[in-house]
């Protein structure tokens, strides 16, 4: 049931992302819900499952956005893997850390966008900075509201991870 609720929420967010009636959609800039879902998947899901969800979401995004550039799978998979690489050093379940994680993810996204827009479309970096900052601001505003909405759907996962940590600590002590 929780999984169904999660995927229903993902569908709603995706439709909202495409819908023309979303506020602030007039200028084409809106919060990046897919990035928030990528962060959520990186924190809550097992590695392969999370990567697959992020890949599918980014492929869907690719279908609806612009011409075919293959940009989104690169962005969201990189965000996913960057977060996973921090797994050992970072407590993902603290609200402040999660917010920092969102900023970190936006930075990863910016680096890839900068690379893409500089080398493929020959943009100067300050040209993408203004829309990027706007988009980031919207995303960071939505993030604290949306993330707790997603959170309860996978609390079990969190408990499992806590248990896994306890088992690991005991194993180390035995050795």
């Amino acid at each position: 049931m929780k999984k169904t609720a999660f995927f229903a929420l993902v569908c709603i967010l995706f439709l909202l992302q495409i819908s023309p009636v979303l506020p602030c959609a007039d200028y084409g800039i809106r919060p990046d819900f897919i990035l928030i879902l990528a962060i959520f998947s990186a924190v809550q899901f097992p590695l392969c499952c999370g990567a697959f969800i992020v890949f599918i979401l980014s492929c869907l995004m690719e279908v609806f956005s612009g011409v075919n550039t293959g940009l989104y799978p690169i962005i969201y998979l990189s965000v996913f893997l960057s977060i996973r690489s921090l797994e050992g050093y970072f407590d993902f379940f603290r609200p402040l850390n999660l917010f920092l994680l969102a900023i970190f993810s936006l930075a990863v996204k910016f680096i890839i966008l900068l690379f893409c827009f500089n080398f493929i479309y020959e943009f100067r970096h300050f040209e993408i900075l203004a829309p990027f900052l706007k988009e980031s601001a919207y995303t960071l505003l939505v993030f604290p509201a949306l993330y707790p909405l997603l959170g309860p759907l996978y609390k079990k996962q969190k408990k499992n991870l806590e248990l896994k940590n306890i088992v690991l600590i005991h194993e180390q002590r035995h050795r």
Partner: protein, 275 residues
């Protein structure tokens, strides 16, 4: 074999990354070619998108016309209810009248040109702010094909880059991948309008020796058969002549206000041209 079993998770991630990189490399190589998968997804999503669009519009209309007015003075509740009802009716009538006006304009505009034109409604926008595309509610079943021009009475909107069965994706002229062959109406000078992903576009490949003035009107040249000849693309808002280079740097304001785009006309291509 054991290596594969032992590292299956890492291999899975590596495979996903490889697919993503291949898509990226292929995307750079052939920017406008779309796969069968894309067409299927577009077709599948057109129905929920259309429903979402209509329901959100209905909810937002209900919110703005009713719920927003609930928290006012108790004394006026009865009176306000009546006013609300009337204002909803009024609003709906006005909306219908506006829609009628827009559709009538579209009809008059359609009759002016020889090309067959199909009215369509916007049902979705680009999910990111980086590219400029919209989804319309007409597809191959209605006769829409790839590279069909999309216009409004105000001017050029863009062209169809992907046609599903009952929806199509339109690349706006402001997108960074958009190029249109145009003429400066006053001087008949040729140029190419290039999108920059913003609200404005650039007119490229106009020699410094050519005369261009502010407020000059830019129209489609009709060369590439995507758009009929003479449709307004925009007006010149900024001209810059650098010391180096052969060409002028010209900024143009599109004739169409993309933030208020609701209905468009798709220029249907003739059957022999579709091949």
């Amino acid at each position: 074999m054991q290596f594969f079993i032992k590292n299956k998770r890492s291999l899975f991630i590596a495979a996903l990354l490889l697919v993503a990189l291949t898509l990226f490399a292929k995307g750079i190589e052939q920017k406008t070619k779309r796969s069968f998968f894309d067409r299927i997804v577009l077709t599948l999503f057109s129905f929920p998108l259309s429903i979402t669009n209509k329901s959100i519009t209905a909810i937002s209309s209900a919110w703005h016309h009713y719920f927003f007015l609930v928290g006012l003075n108790d004394e006026n509740i009865a009176l306000k209810k009546r006013v609300d009802g009337l204002s909803i009716d009024n609003q709906l009538l006005r909306e219908q009248s506006d829609e009628n006006k827009r559709l009538r304009e579209l009809l008059v505009f359609r009759k002016k040109f020889e090309h067959k034109m199909l009215p369509a409604e916007i049902i979705g926008r680009d999910p990111s702010g980086w590219f400029k595309t919209v989804l319309v509610d007409k597809g191959t079943l209605d006769g829409v094909s790839r590279d069909a021009g999309v216009i409004t009475p105000d001017g050029v909107v863009g062209c169809v880059i992907e046609a599903g069965l009952n929806s199509s994706k339109v690349l706006l002229i402001t997108d960074i991948n958009s190029y249109i062959d145009v003429l400066i109406k006053r001087t008949r000078t040729h140029g190419i309008v290039v999108g920059r992903g913003e609200q404005t576009c650039y007119l490229s490949y106009v020699l410094k020796t050519e005369e261009v003035a502010l407020d000059d009107i830019i129209v489609s040249s009709g060369i590439n058969t995507v758009y009929p000849k003479g449709i307004i693309v925009g007006t010149v808002t900024k001209i810059k002549k650098d010391r180096s280079g052969f060409f002028q740097s010209i900024e143009i304001k599109p004739a169409v206000d993309f933030s208020k785009l609701h209905e468009v006309l798709i220029v249907l291509r003739e059957p022999e041209k579709q091949k």
